[in-house]
Amino acid sequence: MIKIEGLRLALVRDEDIDPAVPFLLSYGFDPADLRASLERVGQITPLILQPAEGRYRLICGYRRRLILQELGRREYQALILPPGLNDREALGLALEDNLSSRPFNAAEKVLALTHLSRFHPPAELIENFLPRLGLPPRVQYLDRFLRLSDLGTAGLTALAEGDLDPETGEMILSMTPEDRAAVIDLLNRLRPGLNKRKQIVTWLREIGRREDVPVRTVIEGPDIRAVMQAERLNLPQKEKAVRELLRARRYPLLKELEEKQARFLKRLNLPPKVRLEPPLNFEGLDFTIRINFADLKEFQEGLDALNRMAAGPDLAALVELG
């Protein structure tokens, strides 16, 4: 617990506040509600400042100050902290002030943990601060969120706005900034769900490595561009089409075998109640045949279909394919 004595209330001029914010905990926020409130009733909650080298450091109130500046205010109500408060305590205060008023988005969690890691050992961050930020108290979450600080402005903005989730963010960390930007842009335009997002990024990354090409050239290639520009496709259709393109490029042989298999299966021309199921991924040992029937006539029709199938060349070709 941080014990603060000697707080005082003051009216502080904007030019007396250092523009550098030591513990920025706000990222990508929507200012509309706060702006409306400040316009309506003015500043109710004071900024929290700390004297430092003849000026003041802004500890809490970054958003309020920003909007008040935009509204033309040049003086703010402020609580002045005693000068002896150290950085670790000041950060603790800033964190509590922010967490008590709103949930953090993923980018803000990155900022908070990055600041906190300067003053607290990993075990303390995991045990005390991850749960406080709504994260599971496990080392991989700490590692992930600390690494995400390398995402850069575009990545953190995507995290803040929900276009990127932390797990996918971690996946694109190893990419160049240009590739990361292309991936974020693609995800932003396709809006896939979490699992599909991870799949898309995984395939993009692996295609880039397999073909030794930058990921952005895959995204900007003619196939994906055509899908993204196709007016006849709605968003879910585009997302599906992009995934199909990526899968076919990532697994060219598998795709070729699947297409062959589909052709042979179609040529068997089986009735709707007779199904032939090849082994999974051309790997398994057994083919499976299912016949559904409601009466003896349908049963006989199923058997006739099987006999026709056995006599033709396509079943042998399918079995050969595996």
């Binding site: 190893s174 692996e206 490595r209 697994y251 042989l253 999974l280 051309f282 790997e283 040992l285 595996g322």
Partner: protein
């Protein structure tokens, strides 16, 4: 010697502090910690450089579990420890084990006593035993001497042979022993590029083959396991080169068998490899989920590799005993023109020794 370093310190379970293995290891390594009890749930507490002596409460000898639908070679596993510090990028232990320490069963004498009992049974069926399933058979040979003791134990067996599987070159302590022809020293080998980039902690390929040559000179039969076969640029030439090198170092008649096993892995390994070995490209080929729950190269890719290796090996020695490790009957048929059936491979290997 291989390039891998030795463990740096011991962690010992209290009940094992006076055990023979602890006494031997204490001569080489400082004791970092003594714990009242060390169970599998404690293993994640330990890290690289820790050699943990824990009491094993399970069976010391168990058959290779195999997998339904895939043909198994039927080895009996002598289970004396877990883990390896060679750091191969593809190592499946990375996804099986929750620790990067090496766990040795400090009550190994109980295991050896059990092995003696099993070997002394009346009219036992023929069995092939090995120690290299969950660790490398000779990884700690310089410290424990376990391999040498096992060689002595099997030397006069008529119904059992021992296979020591390694990626090291630590055969020196085995060379002067009376092995009675009942021990096969096997080396895991790979294409030169894979050995360099993915097995950087293991002995160099050249050292492994030189060790195989020395073992053969001392009357041991040797085995080679091309496992995992990994597709990479120039893989055909690379594997041909290793095959050629094998036959330059070891006379064909000293080779008991050569196995081929394409890279396969539990899906969880992919994340581990991405984290620990971000530059490795071993996961970039076309893998599919197989019925045994493992990711495998798409079947035609595996068959292509096996055929290439088989042709190369048979080019040097047409009678070579070559088999596939954990492959489906269908793949056997596509590679060899036949499948040996559920017992056929076991009988084929038994006959070889």
């Amino acid at each position: 010697m291989g390039r891998a370093g030795k463990p740096e310190r011991l962690v010992v379970e209290t009940s094992l502090t006076d055990g023979p293995l602890t006494r031997v290891l204490e001569k080489s390594l400082p004791v970092k910690e003594v714990r009242e009890r060390i169970g599998p749930s404690d293993y994640p507490d330990f890290g690289p450089g820790d050699l943990v002596l824990a009491r094993h409460h399970g069976s010391f000898i168990k058959p290779c579990p195999g997998t339904r639908g895939y043909i198994c070679c039927g080895l009996q596993i002598i289970h004396f420890g877990l883990g390896c510090h060679l750091g191969c990028t593809y190592c499946i232990l990375q996804s099986y084990l929750d620790t990067r320490a090496i766990i040795l069963f400090g009550n190994m004498e109980d295991g050896l006593a059990r092995l003696r009992e099993v070997l002394a049974q009346d009219n036992p069926p023929f069995r092939r035993y090995c120690t290299g399933e969950f660790t490398d058979s000779l990884l700690l040979e310089d410290l424990t001497g376990l391999g040498a003791r096992l060689v002595g134990l099997f030397a006069d067996q008529s119904q059992a042979v021992l296979e020591l599987k390694t990626k090291t070159d630590r055969v020196q302590t085995l060379l002067g022993l009376n092995h009675g022809g009942r021990t096969i020293i096997s080396f895991s080998v790979n294409a030169p590029a894979v050995a360099r980039s993915e097995e950087s902690g293991a002995a160099s390929l050249k050292s492994r083959l030189a060790a195989a040559g020395r073992a053969a000179q001392h009357g041991y039969r040797v085995g080679f396991h091309f496992d995992p076969l990994i597709r990479h640029p120039g893989w055909q030439e690379g594997y041909q080169r290793t095959v050629s090198d094998i036959f330059q170092h070891v006379p064909a008649e000293a080779i008991a068998w050569i196995s081929l096993g394409a890279f396969r892995y539990l899906p969880g390994l992919k994340t581990v490899v991405a984290g620990r070995h971000p530059k490795s490209r071993i996961m970039d080929e076309e893998f599919v989920l197989a019925p045994d729950g493992k990711m495998r190269y798409l079947r035609p890719l595996r068959v292509e590799m096996y055929r290439s290796l088989l042709t190369s090996i048979r080019g040097f020695w047409p009678e070579a005993c070559v088999y596939l490790c954990m492959e489906s009957p269908r793949v056997w048929r596509e590679v060899f023109g036949f499948d040996p059936g559920p017992r056929g491979l076991i009988e084929m290997l038994d006959r070889r020794v």
